[in-house]
């Protein structure tokens, strides 16, 4: 737009009708896209917002009426909701920020040093987990962590004590599952970012006698700071909305020990039939995502 503005000013010399028409003309190729966006993005979201303020139910009640903030008040007084928020934060922190992000960076750094066949092989293996559909990954990891599953078979073979994490520590089990599945994405982002670091900078640091750890801390990390921010944001938003993986592995249980917000939302909306309340929770999930985004954007804005 910055280039278009002076052009318009030359031609119109103060009259208002033509720039408006030109602006309209410029927008016209975008019109179908705008309409589609409004229809398929803004529409459902608007409908969602509306439902969140009603007592709509899947069954048991025929009419739907406007209830104001009742759903939101209910949520904040609902221990199950607060439990879900805490579990969501734990899940996001462990699996996305600590797990996928750190592991992805480590893998990317290691792969740069590795020989070509190792790189190809490792890359393929990690990517496979990412390419698998969520529900397939969910069932695979269910059979891995399950009491009579692969992990325990291996542990037995090694004469190590067996685990039953799907029952005792389900939130950790689903977090591991999410790390397993999502690390490839971070690895790809960081591989690209690391490749962008100019060789000379690293080399001159090396000449100046910087140790490996110093180079990582003072050169590599600051230079890929923006990629870290982008990656964290995308990872977090993806992780916040993970549903299929958890549903396939634990259904949020046992009890509500792995009931993150998306699972809680499904449980309320479709199993308890409280569509209105479930949608309100969905909106609150959106707020949580927005809060994370704001934090990351702040971090990104700071100049080094």
């Amino acid at each position: 737009m910055s280039r278009a503005a002076p052009t318009a000013a030359y031609g119109t010399a103060g009259r208002g009708a033509r720039p408006r028409r030109r602006a309209l003309l410029r927008w016209s190729p975008l019109a179908p896209a705008t309409v589609l966006l409004l229809l398929f993005l803004a529409g459902p979201i608007g409908y969602c917002v509306y439902i969140a303020f009603t007592d709509m139910q899947l069954t048991g009640q025929e009419s739907t009426s406007f209830v104001g903030l009742a759903n939101f008040r209910h949520a904040f007084g609902d221990p199950a909701f607060l439990n879900a928020v805490v579990l969501t934060l734990v899940f996001t922190l462990v699996s996305s920020i600590l797990g996928q992000n750190t592991l992805g960076l480590a893998l990317a750094a290691l792969m740069r040093r590795a020989s070509r066949p190792v790189r190809t092989l490792a890359g393929a293996v990690v990517l496979t987990a990412w390419v698998l559909p969520e529900i397939v990954a969910g069932f695979l990891l269910y059979t891995f962590f399950e009491r009579r599953g692969t992990l325990n078979a291996v542990l037995d073979w090694l004469h190590l004590p067996s685990q039953n994490w799907l029952f005792t520590l389900p939130i950790l089990a689903v977090s591991f599952a999410n790390v397993w599945r999502g690390t490839a994405f971070s690895m790809l982002i960081y591989s690209a970012a690391l490749a962008e670091i100019p060789q000379e900078v690293t080399e001159s640091a090396e000449v100046d006698g910087a140790s490996g750890r110093q180079r990582l801390w003072h050169i590599t990390l600051p230079m890929i700071r923006r990629s870290i921010g982008t990656n964290l944001m995308l990872n977090t938003l993806q992780t916040l909305s993970v549903f299929g993986l958890i549903w396939a592995m634990t259904r949020g249980g046992p009890g509500s020990r792995s009931q993150t917000l998306p699972v809680f939302m499904y449980d309320q909306a479709f199993l308890k039939s409280l569509i209105g309340y479930g949608t309100a929770v969905a909106l609150l999930l959106l707020v949580v995502g927005a809060l994370f985004s704001v934090v990351y954007l702040r971090l990104l804005r700071e100049e080094v």
Binding site: I45, G60, N164, F167, R251, L297, L300
Partner: protein, 453 residues
């Protein structure tokens, strides 16, 4: 980078909104009937699929030009309910005929999802063959009837006589109290290691099966009106019966008399018990439904088990301390209903009639191990000698109790499931779980509760 902010928000919004959108579909042409019914999560169990297909073929043959499109929904119980409710909301996706659990039907009637069938029933000669209790099963609060039941079921104890013999227990076992049930389970645990002594369904995974077969079989044996008080039309809180029933579960799972807790809470436990634990003789006593035999039929059963009639014994489930009538059973069942949004209700009714020709009705009771709800079916010799034990379970019908047939019941049931799960995992004591249930109940029924300490 800054430009990402709105995009990120939008992404978050879309992700959130995306999970709540339902799928679409077309209404179909006027000669095709869409029939939705649940399919067992075990692929090998095709009892209902086979039967529905059989009737559909008969219908297509008798009505040239008409087609029946089957929509088997393979899901756990709760997911099935959620799925059909979503389908029934829109004329584009609504099936023309749907298989409704009587546990849910009053809720779906209140939601306006179903069509009253009275105009058809009035002209239908066979309707007078139905038992009065069965006719009432699908009657709404408005007095109209919304479904035609195709069978009922009762509940009791199944036990493995071979395991009992090893444990030194009698083959004609009939416990008189809860303690006798637990005592037998403890004996099995002591004398026959490697066998699960007693299965009582519990938790949220098994859904209504846990609440009805597990919890209510206990609760209804603790005293009168422990769940809902029909006199005051209020739901009951704070009863000793409720706490005692949870205590029973804690004993079963705390003393490891039941299946491993993580298995017990899995949504597949019902299928597991019927197609693995029972036929592989790894379970001594099972508190379960009368229909269990359908799973072991040579054709369509998930696990054909020809020896079961000689291996398994049956006993009525006792009341807590043996109070009269000494045994407890609950009756449920399913109906065929026509969604309000169906575009072809007349044709759909014709298909219900086909399902309920006497021949087809007998066929289903035999194949599905159902207890007949029609007098002519009950008298049919093919039905009477269909499965061993049919006489025993039919005998339980007269003492069988019903769940409160109210629209709000499914939500109460979900709250009970949560209380059961909390006690089973050990996250809460029976008292804590019962208190949490009372709190939840008050909000579910808008305070229409009465305390019965």
């Amino acid at each position: 980078m800054r430009r990402i902010a709105p995009m990120a928000l939008l992404t978050a919004a879309v992700l959130a909104a995306g999970t709540l959108t339902a799928c679409g579909g077309s209404g179909g042409d006027k000669n095709t009937l869409k029939v939705a019914f649940p399919k067992d999560t075990n692929n090998k169990v095709t009892v209902r699929d086979d039967y529905v297909e059989l009737v559909a073929h008969a219908f297509e043959k008798a009505n040239p030009g008409k087609k029946v499109e089957l929509i088997p929904i393979q899901a756990s119980e709760n997911d099935y309910y959620a799925k059909i409710q979503q389908m029934m909301r829109s004329p584009k996706t609504a099936p023309d005929l749907v298989y409704e659990d009587t546990f849910l039907i009053n809720s779906d009637i209140a939601a306006g999802l179903l069509r009253p069938l009275d105009p058809y029933l009035g002209k239908w000669a066979d309707w007078k063959q139905f038992e009065p209790a069965a006719k009432a099963a699908a009657r709404g609060q408005d007095g109209r009837t919304y479904g035609v039941p195709d069978g009922t079921d009762t509940r009791g104890l199944w036990f493995n006589k071979k395991i009992f013999k090893k444990a030194g227990l009698p083959p004609d076992w009939q416990p008189k109290t809860w303690d006798e049930v637990l005592a037998a389970a403890r004996t099995v645990k002591r004398k026959v290691p490697g066998v699960i002594p007693l299965n009582v369904f519990t938790g949220k995974g098994a859904g209504e099966a846990a609440v009805m077969q597990g919890f209510e079989m206990l609760l209804y044996g603790t005293g009168k009106d422990q769940l809902y008080d029909p006199a005051t039309k209020k739901w009951v809180t704070g009863t000793k019966g409720f706490r005692d029933s949870l205590e029973f579960l804690r004993t079963v799972y705390g003393e490891k008399l039941g299946p491993d807790v993580s298995d017990a809470l899995s949504p597949n436990i019902q299928t597991n018990v019927a197609t693995e634990l029972m036929p592989e003789e790894k379970l001594a006593i099972d508190l379960d439904g009368s229909w269990l035999g359908q799973q072991w039929q040579p054709k369509g059963g998930g696990k054909p088990w020809p020896e079961w009639p000689t291996v398994l014994g049956r006993a009525a489930f006792p009341t807590q301390h043996g109070a009269a009538p000494g045994k407890v059973s609950l009756a449920g069942g399913w109906t065929w209903s026509v969604p309000r949004q169906s575009q072809r209700p007349d044709l759909a009714w014709k298909l219900i009639e086909t399902f309920q020709t006497k021949h087809n009705a007998v066929e289903w009771c035999v194949r599905g191990a159902q207890i007949a709800v029609r007098k002519d079916v009950a008298a049919d010799p093919a039905y009477r000698k269909s499965l061993p034990g049919i006489g025993f379970f039919t005998g339980l019908v007269e003492i069988s109790r019903f769940r409160p047939a109210l629209p709000v019941y499914p939500k109460v049931s979900a709250a009970i499931g949560e209380a059961m799960e909390a006690v089973t995992t050990g996250d809460a004591s029976p008292k804590q779980a019962a208190d949490a249930y009372d709190e939840q109940l008050k909000s579910i029924v808008d305070g229409r509760t009465v305390a019965k300490p």
